[in-house]
């Protein structure tokens, strides 16, 4: 297959070839081909990943890091091969910095438990932003409750952009940690992580980035971003559920106590006690999600070899831009998040005056259009925006402008049903 690169002219994104690689897109919902605009919740599965999992399950399954027999060696090679792929994809300097976890939520909990319990104490401060997903709020609230720490909230402006001056002021109070989304799952705001990381490090805080939404949309270079921990999940990146990655700086991971105890994470167990394995095994207790890790690796490899993340980002931007342009013509519709511009990615969240988001979603579903409605696990942000719910269109590499046009037509139908 011919490669699309960052140098491809606009419009050269191989959308038809991409769509052929996603079997689910052949589904019809309500008599129409599905227009899947909910990739921010979970993206569809790419054939290369489905087939990699299938091949592993049929031909190579065994436990990893256990037996010396052929199948165990094959399973281990495939599982550790997936770690290499992930490390390459995100720009990790060392493959040992890539931990396999269940999802981004578990990655963030791992940091809160293992790093947090060892390094955050009574009276210490933790900074979060108002645009965080619950997965990057609740683990820190739980940590604060365990150790008696205090949480500060970095505010956003009315466009949904992080107020960096206010953040700087909070950092001057000397927090131990800043937890921040790379891209908001509601607003589509891309936070300037490199700048934020430098600010936080100057103040002596480490930076934990939630990359669940950013990783599917943009090329990653964790070293250039300057963060200390970065969480991603496989099922938003065309891979399976039940697998994600926590990337952490090697010296931090090495200094951290284990998260979960059990098999694989030990060096030696005696009646008197246990010594722990090196990183990354120390943080991968029990039999891991082997097939899922392999499936995530295959999805990343497909993205890197068939498209390249620069082209993926260009496509994401084009879809967000087109959606913002089209939604501007729908009467009574209000978009949340920054206006059209180079830093504006998806998703696009909106409300329509007189129709609740649930009802919008219900009527769109009749037209085969899948969007998410609700608080998007971001109730602090909803409170900041003064709303309880939005409808949200989110994009993937397979999203087309025709699907966005169908969204707009579906919204017109919703207005008709509600007599608007």
């Amino acid at each position: 297959m011919e490669q699309a690169t960052a140098n491809s002219p606009a419009g050269a994104f191989p959308i038809e070839r991409v769509r052929e690689q996603f079997p689910l897109l052949a589904r019809e919902i309500g008599g129409a081909p599905v227009a899947y605009l909910d990739s921010g919740a979970s993206s569809q599965r790419v054939l290369a990943s489905i087939e990699a999992v299938d091949d592993y399950e049929r031909r190579h399954h065994s436990n990893v890091h256990r037996g010396s027999h052929t199948l165990s060696a094959e399973a281990t090679e495939a599982y550790e091969g997936a770690r290499n792929i992930v490390a390459g994809h995100i720009g990790a300097a060392d493959r040992r910095e890539v931990l396999f976890v269940r999802n981004a939520t578990e990655a963030l909990n791992l940091v809160a438990r293992a790093w947090g319990d060892a390094n955050v104490g009574a009276g210490d401060r933790i900074v979060l932003t108002e645009m965080e997903h619950h997965s990057n709020i609740v683990p820190w609230q739980q940590l604060a409750e365990r150790v008696g720490a205090e949480i500060d909230w970095a505010p956003i402006d009315d466009d949904g952009v992080l107020d960096l001056d206010a953040l700087r002021a909070l950092l001057e109070r000397g927090p131990k940690l800043l937890a921040v989304a790379h891209v908001s799952n509601v607003l589509g705001t891309e936070n300037p992580l490199a700048e934020i990381s430098a600010m936080a490090h100057d103040a002596g805080a480490i930076v934990v980035a939630d990359g669940a939404q950013a990783a599917p949309k943009t090329a990653l270079d964790v070293a250039a971003l300057g963060v200390d921990f970065y969480a991603i999940t496989g099922h938003k990146l065309y891979g399976p559920t039940g697998i994600g990655t926590l990337w952490g700086k090697l010296d931090l991971l090495r200094a951290m106590p284990p998260f979960l105890g059990g098999g694989s994470m030990i060096r030696k167990v005696t009646r008197e006690g246990t010594t722990y394995a090196d990183v990354p095994a120390r943080f991968e207790a029990g039999t891991p999600a082997i097939a899922q890790a392999i499936g995530m690796g295959a999805a990343f490899e497909w993205l890197d070899t068939e498209l390249g993340m620069e082209a993926v980002r260009d496509h994401e931007r084009a879809m967000a831009d087109y959606t913002l342009e089209k939604l501007a013509d729908v009467p009574g519709l209000k978009v949340f998040g920054p206006p059209r511009g180079p830093e504006r990615l998806g998703p696009v969240s909106f409300e329509i005056d007189g129709i609740h988001a649930h009802d919008v979603s219900e009527i769109l579903d009749r037209h085969g259009i899948a969007v998410r409605a609700g608080h998007h696990c971001a109730q602090v942000l909803m409170d900041r925006l003064g709303i309880t719910a939005t409808a949200r269109a989110s994009f993937g590499v397979y999203t087309t402008t025709e699907e966005i046009d169908r969204l707009v037509d579906g919204l017109e139908d919703a207005r008709r049903v509600f007599g608007l």
Binding site: H356, H358, D359, Q379, T388, A389
Partner: protein, 141 residues
């Protein structure tokens, strides 16, 4: 006519009955639909016979949750707390008179759950998704 969004539902959504707060309420409860964060607040005043004399609700919600609670609160004056607690799910579904899918059941049952919680003085818990779970059995003194 639209099956789900028939005129009666939209009418109750746009102009809900009993919308507001009862002054000097004897019973009140506020809860959210955890699925979407929608909130409703129910206030109830009891008469000398300990039966509902006034009831009101307020909050922000979808057409289904708003219409369901609007229709429900029209029917409750004169009921005892015990009777409120014994109301089955079908009571609300019959008032709505439309098919409610499993994904919208939480919306339809939000008001009933809050009324029961107000009557109980603590959260009334039952599994209100899909076809399982009986609020009449779950919420008793």
């Amino acid at each position: 006519m639209d099956e789900l969004y028939r005129d009666q539902i939209l009418e109750h959504y746009k102009r809900p009955h009993n919308f507001g707060v009862v002054e000097g309420a004897d019973l009140e409860y506020e809860d959210t639909n955890p699925f979407c964060g929608d909130e409703q607040h129910v206030t109830i005043k009891l008469g000398p016979d300990d039966r509902v004399s006034e009831i009101a609700f307020e909050g922000k919600g979808c057409a289904i949750s708003t219409a369901a609670t609007s229709l429900l609160t029209d029917e409750l004056v004169g009921m005892s707390r015990e009777e409120l607690l014994r109301l089955p799910k079908d009571y609300v579904l019959e008032l709505l008179g439309i098919d409610i899918s499993a994904t919208r059941m939480k919306c339809a049952m939000l008001g009933l759950k809050i009324v029961k919680s107000a009557a109980l003085g603590r959260p009334a818990e039952w599994e209100d998704e899909g076809e399982t779970g009986s609020p009449a059995e779950a919420a008793t003194f």
